[in-house]
């Protein structure tokens, strides 16, 4: 009897605002503890929350991008519980009326399938502070810099069935929030975190199995591994006749397993109720339109355009659109060479990507700018240099030796297209290799490349490859 895993993700994306959701304290990462904790963030008596407009607009932008319903009236509620890093004794969140409801995200999997993942809701809430359990010998230290940082909690329906699909969905959300500029996506700094709800049921069963929640996993790889482990653990337990306990579990990456969090002695009862400090949040059509107008072209639309209008292969389009900065770089190159989409894509995904990777740089910090790359590619297009020579020129550009034209000129790399020069090089190799000539003429076509290579060598690599090919074919007959 086989088992079907069912997975839903709750993603917490930190909204990229300068100040907190309800206070004017900075959200900048890495400050000294408690130096970015305003009166409100430490719950000073008498302080009141005043919401940040930019957080709302970013939530709406996300909602529009997943074709969701934007609530015209939504409510901030208090979620009440005691924990030392929760300064007010409640978290301001949204419960019954979230700002974003019922959206869909199209996810392309690595193996080429398309998943339509329903995003049940996305709501605004504030983050808690940070507990430092190892700060002192017998005490826990508390840093409230994080307290009040705006989060968008993005909740998918439990519609995913493999760890790989769950991660593909998580990556798609990651791409989207970065694409929209609503979240910097920095997982190491905790700006993008994920809780996974996992259950398994008999294949064909309607009812969901008992689920467990894996908390706060902070890398794609660990999410995949944690879910995989949890699925196996649950199946093993069920096959041994054990029941799954509904609980929260933590992933131990070192041991590659999930472990139950210390069970709380009492059940949660969060006593949600509308925050009396915050009247209902009203959003008008004009508010939504203003955000819609400012939305960038969305990754799906752009991917479709690359395939349909530019004729790029699906895989190139997907890779380019995995990161808005990459796609934008590509477009900047393409602007100078509108007929050379494939070459532009090859170079952005090839040389540029490899060089960035080797230097551990993001594309915004590329040492060869999009216009500079475009000038190089223009020299391939107009036949000044070959693609092969261009790679050397690119390396020199990357090393800071200057612009493509300057390097070509300084190194004398201009391609030889002069028929006379090419002809004498061809004649010379035909004369030099009579044995190979005979074999070629006997039918060994593969030797054409040998002659091209030898002739190119004679031309110090600067021969126009198309012309050289044609000439050799003619003369070798």
């Amino acid at each position: 009897m086989s088992w079907q895993p069912v997975i839903g993700l709750e993603i917490h994306a930190q909204l990229a605002t300068a100040s907190k959701l309800f206070s004017g304290a900075s959200t900048a990462y890495g400050a000294e503890p408690n130096t970015q904790a305003a009166l409100l963030d430490v719950a000073m008596p008498g302080t009141l929350p005043v919401p940040n407009r930019a957080a709302l607009d970013k939530a709406i932008a996300f909602g529009l991008a997943i074709h969701a319903t934007i609530a015209r009236q939504s409510i901030f509620a208090r979620k009440n519980y005691f924990y030392p890093d929760l300064p007010k004794g409640y978290q301001i969140s949204q419960y019954e009326a979230p700002i974003v409801g019922n959206g869909t995200l199209c996810v392309r999997t690595d193996d080429g399938r398309t998943l339509e993942v329903v995003i049940e809701r996305a709501h605004l809430e504030e983050d808690a502070g940070k507990s430092l359990h190892d700060a002192f010998h017998a005490a826990t230290g508390l840093d409230f810099n994080r307290a009040g940082v705006p989060l968008l909690e993005i909740v998918s329906k439990p519609v995913l069935h493999t760890a790989q699909d769950a991660v593909a969905y998580m990556r798609a959300v990651h791409t989207l929030v970065r694409w929209l500029g609503v979240c910097d996506g920095n997982m190491a700094e905790g700006s993008f975190r994920c809780d996974a709800n996992v259950s398994v049921r008999r294949a064909g069963a309607d009812k969901l199995g008992t689920r467990t929640e894996i908390k706060n996993v902070n890398s794609f790889r660990f999410v995949e591994k944690a879910i995989e482990y949890e699925i196996e653990r649950q199946i093993r337990a069920l096959e041994n006749g054990e029941a799954i306990v509904q609980e929260t579990r933590l992933y131990d990456a070192a041991a590659h397993r999930t472990l139950p969090m210390r069970s709380k002695e009492d059940a949660d009862d969060y006593r949600y109720f509308p925050d009396p400090d915050l009247p209902p949040l009203m959003v008008t059509d004009a508010d939504i339109e203003a955000v819609r107008m400012a939305l960038p072209e969305l990754p799906d639309a752009r991917r479709r355009r690359y395939v349909e209008a530019l004729g790029l292969p699906e895989s190139d389009a997907m890779q380019l659109c995995a990161d808005k900065h990459v796609a934008d770089f590509f477009e900047a190159v393409l602007a100078a060479l509108p007929d050379q989409a494939k070459m532009c894509a090859n170079w952005v995904l090839g040389e540029i990507a490899a060089a960035l990777n080797a230097a551990n740089l993001s594309i915004e910090a590329s040492r060869v700018s999009a216009p500079a790359l475009a000038r190089l590619l223009a020299r391939i297009a107009d036949g000044t240099i070959s693609g092969k020579i261009a790679k050397d020129v690119f390396a020199a550009m990357w090393a800071g030796e200057g612009d493509a034209d300057a390097i070509v000129a300084a190194r004398g790399l201009k391609q030889i297209s002069d028929t006379g020069a090419l002809e004498s090089a061809v004649d010379a190799v035909i004369a030099e290799f009579p044995k190979q000539l005979a074999e070629y003429r006997a039918g060994n076509d593969k030797l054409l490349q040998f002659f091209v290579g030898q002739a190119m060598k004679g031309l110090r690599g600067q021969g126009n490859p198309q012309q050289l090919n044609a000439l050799l074919r003619e003369k070798l007959k």
Binding site: T17, A18, S19, S23, G24, A25, S26, E32, P33, N34, T35, Q36, A37, A38, L39, V42, M44, V50, P51, N52, R53, A54, A55, L56, I75, F76, F82, P84, S131, L132, H133, A135, F136, A138, A139, T140, G141, L142, D143, F144, M261, R262, D266, D269, R271, F273, P274, P276, L278, P279, P280, L281, M282
Partner: protein, 95 residues
């Protein structure tokens, strides 16, 4: 409304207010008396009435996204019963 000592214990736990065992029955009786007041709501014709959380039909005002607060860690930490090395300190949280 009968509030028994088990309910008192659960509520007291949620509120982090200790009720000594010997006071539980008295507390339960006191709470029952107050909650009896609320029982009057049960008899009122309120079904279908839209709940009212705020006094006016007010909508939320927003602030612009600007950093307006500066570091006041020293002044705030000085108010704490236990602050060390720039952190607020509490008895070790296990787990």
């Amino acid at each position: 409304m009968a509030i028994d000592t088990a309910i008192v214990a659960r509520i007291a736990r949620l509120a982090r207010l200790p009720i000594p065992a010997q006071d539980a029955a008295q507390t339960a009786a006191g709470l029952s008396r107050v909650l009896d007041l609320a029982a009057q709501l049960a008899d009122a014709p309120l079904d279908g009435v839209e709940p009212m959380a705020h006094p006016h039909a007010q909508t939320l005002a927003w602030r612009a996204d600007a950093v307006t607060e500066s570091d006041r860690a020293d002044a705030l930490l000085a108010l704490a019963p236990d602050a060390r090395a720039g952190l607020y300190a509490v008895p070790k949280v296990i787990g």
